[in-house]
Amino acid sequence: MTTASTPSVHLTDYENRMLAGEFGRAKQKALKFIVEYAGALGAEHLVEVRKAQLFVGAHHYLRSIESDDIDDVISAMYLNSDDRVELEGFGCFVQSDAGAVDAERWRNLGIEPAQQMRNKLYKERLRGVGLAEGNSCASYLIGFVPLRGEHYVSTESHALLFMNAVWGACANADSIEASVCAAVCGRTALWGMHVAENRAGTYLIEVDAEVSSVRDWDLLGYVVGKSTPSGEIPVLSGRLPAPEVEDLKSCFAAMSTSGSAEMCHIIGITPEAPTLAAAFTGGAPKATIKITDGDLQRAAEEIGAQGRGPVEYVSLGCPHYSLKQIQYVAEWFRTRRVAPGVRLDVWTAPATLENARSSGFVDLITAAGGQVVTSTCPLVSQAFPKVDSMAFDSIKQAKYMASSTQAQIFAGSVDDCLVAATAGSWKAIGR
């Protein structure tokens, strides 16, 4: 078997000892992956990572390995190893990303008992070596906070973009396998967003559009992602109001669906872009792209079905909802009910669910016929009802679900979706 040539990667004494197997076979395999990955990038050194957000659990794609032995699967699917090795620990703090199952409400989601049990065993195995249960894609809302200049890894593309852009933290959206290996060995390639001089903006995005809602930011993110080539860093300027965290959550989710941006500056908002000159570190943009209302409208027409139609399933919360967003839904249902024959799921982190419960929001949504669920989403769990029509308030979920179901998919604002859940039909007009 060939292995990647890695002449350019210089290792420390500690790293060489790990690569020689002194700290166990799992760390050895993980570091071997990272060294090959660094070589593939052309990186010369590794960097220590302090924390990791990892997509771990009984995910459906892991069934590519036909084995009930979790270490068999971890070895092949995460550590790129043809040999079975046993994970003995992580090299940094590790918090779980959104996973495959809501461990409390799996029955309500139609998840099979066998899948729940499989996920339970995965989580027990990983907790045994140090996993902390966060169980949310929006980790940054529940205490996963890498600060400016801090090196971390994350399997959640939008969260990584958020943490790099808004907090100035340092990670590349490389892969699930590279992130897990980095978490196990505590090192990743010193390349890309881990290097200060690589973080300058390269593409100027002049926004000349009305951006006044989460939906608008979602659409803007989608258009920016589509307009920015791989490896480039967009700099957003122009007619933009100061965003809230929910705006950027959706913007970055859509941006990392249509493109591959790992960093995004917003003039006057993100810390590395107080001015246009600072965002480009004094250089000139490679290209300038203007985004208009027409571009956002065309994106709205590209994602999801047009016109009206019945809706049988409404899913809110991709990325996982904040407490503020759950409150908004709860207030809507204070005087309304979910239409008969419609299922409404509101997705969030387990920690946020507890806050929503004590705030009375969960009771309001439940009493109206909906449910607040956690830890996963329709796409990741594949736990969605077998219906003919669905509605999402997320471009990311709508776009990816189109390849998971034959159902007609509507995408719009939270208000569009709440109206649909209440009426049992989609009536959205405009973007």
């Binding site: 040539s5 794609y61 790129n80 593309s157 959206a173 699930i176 493109g259 591959s260 390849s403």
Partner: protein, 155 residues
């Protein structure tokens, strides 16, 4: 014709080009049969197994590399991977694919290469050589039974 890039993953292989100008997404990129599964992708339904797959960077989820890991585990990997420019997802995908890979070319791959061109990829030196154009298809070099595309491969 020969052109140079940066050697990313070692090995030497010959095969026919499949140009993915719009790349593939990081979720549900390939079907169980190893064909491109993204609705709306100009290459929808095209098999990647045994092809020299030219990807215009990566796109979408950090699960991008996992799409290529699944291909390898199911015996559906491309013969080689070519990237005009390295990014973090593409480098990780090369490692899990374990196929010859070259990136960071001195010329624009998408204006040089055509779907179906027969090429030799040297992942040790970073060299790519065109052996025969798509129109000069040689049965001995053929890597699959798929006819060359009749129109623009990926617009």
């Amino acid at each position: 014709m020969r052109f140079e890039g940066r050697a990313v993953y070692p090995g030497v292989v010959e095969g026919r080009i499949l140009l993915a100008r719009h790349s593939v997404p990081g979720w549900n990129a390939f079907s169980e049969e190893g064909t491109i599964a993204e609705v709306g992708n100009p290459l929808y339904g095209r098999a990647v197994a045994g092809r020299i797959l030219v990807l215009n960077g990566s796109r979408g989820s950090t699960g991008w590399g996992t799409q290529f890991l699944k291909l390898r585990l199911h015996g559906q990997s491309p013969a080689a991977l070519l990237f005009p420019r390295t990014d973090s997802r593409s480098a990780a995908a090369c490692v899990v694919s374990r196929v010859p890979a070259v990136a960071d070319f001195d010329q624009d791959l998408f204006s040089i290469l055509n779907d179906g061109d027969m090429v030799r990829v040297d992942g040790n030196t970073g060299t790519v050589q065109i052996l025969a154009g798509a129109a000069q298809k040689d049965d001995e070099c053929d890597v699959d039974d798929e006819p060359p595309p009749s129109g623009p491969s990926d617009t």
